[in-house]
Symmetry: C2
Subunit: 341 residues, 2 copies
Amino acid sequence: MAGTSNERGWVAWLARRHAPPPGGLGIGDDAALLPLAPGLQLAATTDWFLEDLHFRRRERPEDCGYRLATRALSDLAAMGAEPLALLLSAAWPAGLAASWRRRLHAGLEAAARDSGAALAGGDLSRAARIAFDIVGLGRVRAGRALLRSGARPGDSLWVSGWLGYAAWGRRLGARAQPSDREQRRALARWRRPRARWELGRRLAQPGRASACMDVSDGLSLDLHRLCRASQVGAMVFAGRLPAPPPAGRSSRARSAAARRALDFALYGGEDYELLFTAPATARARLRRLASPTLPLTEIGVITRSRGLWLELDGGRERLPERGWDAFDAHGGNRRGGRATP
Amino acid sequence: MAGTSNERGWVAWLARRHAPPPGGLGIGDDAALLPLAPGLQLAATTDWFLEDLHFRRRERPEDCGYRLATRALSDLAAMGAEPLALLLSAAWPAGLAASWRRRLHAGLEAAARDSGAALAGGDLSRAARIAFDIVGLGRVRAGRALLRSGARPGDSLWVSGWLGYAAWGRRLGARAQPSDREQRRALARWRRPRARWELGRRLAQPGRASACMDVSDGLSLDLHRLCRASQVGAMVFAGRLPAPPPAGRSSRARSAAARRALDFALYGGEDYELLFTAPATARARLRRLASPTLPLTEIGVITRSRGLWLELDGGRERLPERGWDAFDAHGGNRRGGRATP
């Protein structure tokens, strides 16, 4: 349910017009929340996945299907919800091979099965370019859902897993063969990002995260959204970001690689990690949730003053509100093209 | 959640691969059903609404928005579910006027408010042509939902409201001014079809409907789907269809008009009425549900033998499985073009 930066006004207009459902949560978070029964809320989210904007036909269809499912599952993860079901609206042009569709479904099923969500329905139509809209439905105990609005000054800022690898993998391309372990990781993280729904459910237990969202459009843009919802600011420590390590033979090459890795981590998008905040009292509990396969990294601090800052090389600079934006993507020719300077 | 006739194989393939959610209902009905709490199921449906296929930009945006909401609300009605919330994924080209979007939302809100459903979320993106995917979420008591599969030989076949007016209105066109009461009704039924969710909830009470679906792609095509799901056949009495009355000065003109009205009623689509079956024992109760503003008409009978027949002018003919089909609509140039011979 990502809004888009320069469509913020439209989302705000919608949110003003539509009161949240009684006992629930409306427009503006990763998913809507609806009260369904005493003690129980439904989390519901929907996400576009459009040819030449979110994927290209030359990619492996299995990878597209996996990423398609992850878009919805990651929003459920961000709310701390248990995934229940997916619905898929699909449209395609005449002559799209059935084998492409079957392979896409194999990838979607792999991601869905993993999460326990069943593909329960959808709609079909025809379109000039392939288009998907995926619906994620999940369940969360009333009052337990993780919102963007819960961050408090003094909270630590955390992120799961790794940042920037997906953008790097996307830059390497659909047909790239990895030349080393880090490139292999980058391609895997871009092609098959695994939604962090187990982590989300754990973070939603009392005394853990105070706010949470998923990083789909880049750390910077998504952090601006979280801070706006919580009416706070943040300081991010660049040196702590779990980004690709700089490689290169000369120090100049390593320095350029480090800058590129930082840009991928801050503005790249498609990480599908969880960005969350927590009070200091939760630190020990959070450390116990981390594992070698899913590290949790403290990357910054929430501040009372509303600006967003990046601490870098001993200095500090404003963290610009940019990242992946469908309305700046020029029909997909520059998918994530702003990720490098 | 309409499948499409010549994509039946694809829907069947999906349904075979995806077991229904435990205690719920998966691919193939008007909406999916998910168990959420003891005694309670969620009904969830999703429907495309695409420029030049389901609507045109020269129509009044308010009408498009109303019809967009009705697509989802009508699927909830068909299950006997109480509408709770809508989610809307919207994509549009650069330069689409904000006033168009605001007017569309005014229509969507009118339909949603009427039903008690809140717009609770969605997604935004960019696309070459305007595209919407609407999600409807509703609530139904466990075991009470109306399915396509419940029709039994000997049941009567019923339809709410009127058939064929919407297709006639579509043919009259977006800018038409009605010349009489029937044309006014046709244009209104096409532009602002009201989902029958109150009726659906009443039909879902014990001892009333045995099967139900909404008529979105035309009586004939949708009845074939209902009969296939119930493993039965049907006989439809053409003379009983609540279709537009034939008008004309000569008997030849009236005869042509009658044929056209019958075609609209059988194959036109976008009626958003409820097509349902019920045992003879329910007849008196059903008659009491009818009103002048929403008649309920007994139009046929369910048969053990699997064929679908139309009784017309004292003879009988096979009822062909055709109606509105996105995969035959040639990119929207012939929206409903097959409705007339």
